[in-house]
Symmetry: C2
Subunit: 342 residues, 2 copies
């Protein structure tokens, strides 16, 4: 039997083939690829030539097995189609595309149990880092994260008790700010309209409530929510419900921009003038908010930047220097537009 031709492998060149061609030991090839600085100029060139000639590509599985560490970032988000998380994920991808790390993306469907399952699954790969959305993990999930043996970044929100690191902003403050803006603009019967009502939406609602109570304007009948997934269609329907319940409504703070857009369209359809009769504020500030007619006031959230920052923090931790501040508050910005310019 020849040793050169393995019988199980697909015949792709291995590190041994490269070593033979370059006339060096296999480990030197390995080093030349991972820490070029530790291999002499001359050998490095020979090795690079051999790699080129053979078209050698390292096998990530063998690498992971031997080093007990996969070059993988595990990323868990509640939704793949929600633009908010898509932007976070895009930021993560853009930050990682240069390096050696792959990304393992998981969709939790807003389910804590599913998150647990995926965490279990991802953990079996010994990932280099874990990025998870939100701060409301189940105790079991928290436990899995703590014992993952790698940097962990919770994203989108901030809170007092990070598993390891956090990047995000305060949804409570965001909700409060949006509501205060409506109050300052002169609106009084301000409703809250929210769909899905995940933990972040709950906190925006809490912010709304705080602002309204402070101004002595709160009335539970002003709040219209549903656990149903958010959509523009739903925004329209919820607004109708809210109006039926409370015909004197003169403003709405929406859970997110989809809902806000649905409200705007319904106003058009019902000939309700915006911002005169009704003021509208959205959340997230999607591209279309600025273009809508009238343009819609919204809270701009740094989704893409959160993704980038999460990777930067994880990378720093991997390199051995965890950031001093374990919680990064990236804030938000109120974008005042026509929909509240009464």
């Amino acid at each position: 039997m020849l040793k050169a031709r393995s019988r199980r492998g697909g015949g792709r060149p291995t590190i041994a083939d490269v070593a033979r061609l370059a006339g060096v030991g296999a480990i030197t090839v390995s080093r030349a690829l991972r820490e070029p600085g530790r291999v002499s100029e001359e050998l490095r060139r020979q090795i690079e030539a051999a790699v080129e000639e053979l078209g050698y590509v390292p096998d990530p599985n063998a690498r992971a097995l031997a080093s007990a560490r996969a070059e993988v970032f595990g990323v868990l988000v509640p939704s793949l189609t929600n633009n908010v998380f898509a932007e976070v994920v895009r930021g993560i991808y853009d930050s990682l595309s240069d390096g050696p790390f792959r990304i393992q993306l998981g969709n939790t469907h807003y389910s804590g149990l599913e998150e647990e399952r995926l965490l279990q699954l991802f953990g079996s790969q010994r990932p280099a880092a874990l990025i998870v959305a939100g701060i409301d993990q189940t105790p079991a999930s928290r436990n899995l994260l703590q014992n993952a043996g790698c940097p962990v970044v919770q994203v989108m929100e901030i809170g007092p008790d990070p598993v390891d690191m956090m990047v995000g902003f305060s949804h409570l403050d965001g909700g409060r700010r949006a509501t205060e803006h409506l109050i300052e603009a002169g609106y009084r019967r301000i409703g809250f309209i929210g769909a899905r009502m995940d933990p972040r939406s709950q906190r925006r609602l809490a912010g709304y409530r705080a602002a309204m109570q402070k101004a002595c304007l709160f009335d539970p009948r002003l709040v219209t929510t549903t656990p149903v997934p958010s959509s523009v269609t739903l925004g329209r329907e919820l607004f109708r419900d809210a109006l039926a319940k409370m015909p004197t409504l003169d403003g709405v703070f929406c859970n997110n921009d989809d809902i806000a857009l649905g409200v705007l369209f319904e106003c058009h359809r019902a000939s309700i003038s915006v911002p005169t009769t009704i003021g509208i504020v959205g959340f997230n500030d999607l591209d279309m908010m600025e273009v809508a007619f009238p343009s819609i006031t919204s809270i701009r959230t740094p989704r893409y930047e959160i993704g980038r920052r999460a990777v930067a923090m994880a990378l720093a931790a991997i390199a051995g220097n965890r950031p001093q501040e374990r919680v990064a508050d990236l804030g938000f910005e109120l974008k005042r537009r026509e929909s509240t310019a009464r």
Copy 2:
């Protein structure tokens, strides 16, 4: 030195630990996990108990190394945030969440070169299947796909020459159908407005052109395009340009729904009545098209279903029975709405 406690591993239980506890050989454990039918009832129960007790989870890296096959679906899309591809990806995830397969997602940023790079990278993992968006791969990419040694599904479009399998619909027919609808509705000076202009948009444009020429209505000045990424904002701007170039415009077929929405908002802003003065048709039929005021006619495309079908075809191929029809045309549907109801 004890053999039971490996010194490099993180101390997680291995298949050998399970085997020892169950009093069987390691390979029997392996079989019990993968092909339970080939292990006797009794041993299987013992093994299951041992797995449970130890909390054993197979190491996917070791598995991939030993079997020369990773349980991974490689998925390449041009964008993570474009709702169209997000839906395809969601379909893929939903179809794969039950089984043993992980997903390796790559973002090509609409770049053929980036696609090549990622294909090279993904290939090194010996994936179980590859799903790629579009049918315009570079020769190098096609080559990589052909030699990947696994099922390949090209999605979103259909064409005459699949690398292996295809699921999608004809964008040319879609563009033609949209344009014909405008013509049938009585519009004559019908513009085409398109951003990004990737291959699929190009074919929609070709469909537009075919329909216009057939009706003797084509005029190159009716076409307004840009390679800039699509957005609602851009839709508004392009519509302004189109109108400046061709003030007698009475209809527009938009590249996609974002553009269409931008056009609609600009019509509101400029007090151009829709559908009386201008008819609008979008493409993809996002949720909001139906809710918009006026609601917007669009071509409904089966994105989610494409993702599901692609996985189904790949799974069938893996199981040894490639579908008879290698090209699956899932079609599209014209949704007539107020924006063209003149």
